[in-house]
Symmetry: C2
Subunit: 383 residues, 2 copies
């Protein structure tokens, strides 16, 4: 039996039907109807001429969104897969790596590099605050053997956008180290000029700014990263980007690709390029401002401590003292079809999060606040 909203919705043997919710998790994000329809096209031979056009066209459009002329690969995996590719294709066991973390996803990136034997120096910043570029300079001065710096551009777990431009200026211009970037919840939403900021490896996923379901991830790779790839001895097979490059040269992928998502991606990229990258950034800035202002108007407090670094893709709001955060998000879902995300790791129960990225406009966020106005008093909150 399958259930949703605590009601049985379908017995074994039938369709799974999910109600149309206002899905405000910071990924997966809602998929526009025309993209859903594009994904319904029939299967094709992934080693045939139709696929060659699809993968080449999609890759070139993606490069425009990434603002890069670097190589770029579309992987059949979720975002963590692209991040694994960034690590195993550039590093060797024992390499010194400085990993900057201020949240659950920064920590995950560290865990990943450690799992493959990198010698990871974790630089921890308070969850909810931004990475201090001065600390990055100090740590790089202390550890000249550093091979790479790893950073999460937009920390989804706290709603903080780190100052990647300033970090890059130090890592690349002053120290000339590799820069590996987790851009899962930033790419395609907020400014990240991959070439302009000299990012060597940038990984992101399909279910955030790109408006399609989870199942694909994207990774760009600079010439410096290719040099590192030649020396890298971390084992790799599924995420071997040398194989990806060899196959892309003949319009294929090494392993059978997620065709449906690729159909959707191709249309989503057309829509993004038609809207214009700068206009997409402006829309996310506007909606980020709208969300933060709306939360404050309700008497709520943001987790992000620096207004200049609050994320325009996800807002983390502190659960008011004495309030049951799980009860709040459950009521929002059950009574108003608004799906919020809770806190992760050590912020579990401390915050709730509103995603505002991808196919989103102000009316989606206004619905959240309209529902919060009803639910907050129900859980005992008085502003």
């Amino acid at each position: 039996m399958l259930y949703t909203q605590d009601k049985v919705i379908v017995p074994l043997g039938g369709f799974v039907h999910f109600p149309r919710q206002n899905l405000r998790t910071p990924g997966p994000t809602p998929v526009p109807d025309d993209i859903v329809q594009a994904m319904s096209e029939p299967m094709i031979n992934h080693r045939g001429p139709e696929f060659l056009e699809l993968i080449n066209d999609s890759t070139e459009k993606l490069k425009q969104v990434f603002m890069t002329q670097n190589d770029l690969f579309i992987l059949t995996a979720s975002g963590t897969g692209a991040l694994e590719a960034s690590v195993v294709n550039t590093l060797s066991p024992g390499d010194d790596v400085i990993a900057l973390t201020a949240g659950a996803f920064g920590d995950r990136f560290c865990d990943l590099a450690e799992a493959y034997g990198a010698n990871v120096k974790r630089i921890n910043f308070e969850w909810g605050s931004a990475i201090d570029p001065e600390v990055v300079r100090r740590e790089l001065n202390k550890l000249p053997s550093t091979k790479a710096v790893m950073v999460t551009h937009n920390e989804t777990s706290t709603g903080v956008t780190h100052d990647l431009e300033a970090i890059s200026a130090i890592v690349k211009d002053e120290f000339d180290k590799l820069l590996l970037v987790d851009a899962v919840s930033s790419s395609g939403c907020i400014p990240l000029p991959v070439d302009g900021w000299k990012c060597d490896m940038v990984g992101t996923a399909s279910q955030k700014g790109f408006m399609i379901p989870p199942g694909l991830s994207f990774i760009s790779m600079s010439p410096d990263a290719w040099v590192a790839q030649k020396e890298s001895t971390m084992p790799k097979f599924y995420f071997d980007l040398d194989a990806a490059r060899e196959y892309l040269a003949i319009g294929q992928t090494p392993w059978t690709p997620n065709l449906s998502a690729l159909y959707g991606l191709n249309l989503a990229l057309d829509q993004m390029l038609e809207e214009g990258i700068e206009n997409i950034f402006a829309r996310h800035t506007q909606i980020g401002d709208f969300t933060r202002q709306g939360a404050k108007d309700l008497g709520l407090e943001l987790l992000c401590q620096d207004p200049a670094r609050c994320s325009d893709t996800v807002t983390a709001i502190k659960v008011p003292s004495g309030i049951d955060g799980a009860k709040l998000t459950t009521l929002m879902r059950k009574e108003h079809d608004v799906v919020l995300a809770g806190g992760q790791g050590k912020l579990s129960g401390q915050i709730f999060r509103i995603g505002h990225l991808g196919a989103v406009d102000e009316s989606d966020i206004q619905e959240v606040f309209t529902a919060l106005e009803k639910v907050l008093p129900q859980v005992g909150f008085r502003a």
Copy 2:
């Protein structure tokens, strides 16, 4: 611009439309319309109650198709990802492994284990012939330090089904070694009782017998494999099945899963269980016989040298002497909308292949032969 069949089908900025072909590659296979529709359901929170029901229900149904009570995990990756999981979760660098190969996918499995540092002894069999279980016994006697035996159940590149039951009796009953199985083009189509044949790790993918698009893979893991997992030192993160188990216990996946394909999978599994596993096997046997007989009736020769081991999911046919195989498959596609697969690796140009697995019936195969009757004379073949 996107092209198909050498005609422009859509300019930048529009939908990708692919014609409905008779897609007879051995994966991806055609997706039934109701499954396509199921995949169009809206996104949900992958850390919420709807997802918990979806993943638990789908996993339990998959176990029925696998005929196993072992743990089973649904991964967001293509089949090679599941095979990587089978290796990195059971082995350590330097482990002695016997790998049985008689084709491109057997070779790929070897390459994968070698990439992660296993000491792989490749036992090569002629492409088109079946693995000889006697050789497996002899090699195991010669190499008592063997930790695992790796085998491809159905070799997609040659159309041969290896005698996994006999191989298992030797590997498990006589020598008690780990048995890692590539079941990408067999699972859900032809008999593979995972528990009955004591297979420790069995990996397969969504785009073959399971009738959904590529983008998911499935891996079952025995208690013995879990023991090996505890000792295994191969690095792993995205494919770490310990993380998969930990998350599945709370109705989640470690990384954001391919939701659309999961919606399709759930319905596909209902349909498979309704048809009945034994009936699915019988249908594939019947259609395998039909395909082989049809090829012979046209005066063509099969690659598979042992009638008892010809695959019921894919048939490899020798390109007749003096005939241009590429011209043949191109004419089939362009003039008859029938998409065949060519040969891989050293069989490139030597064979063409007809897939007959998943949502397939005799009329699909009859169309292939009707077209071949017209195309074969065009390329100069006289039976």
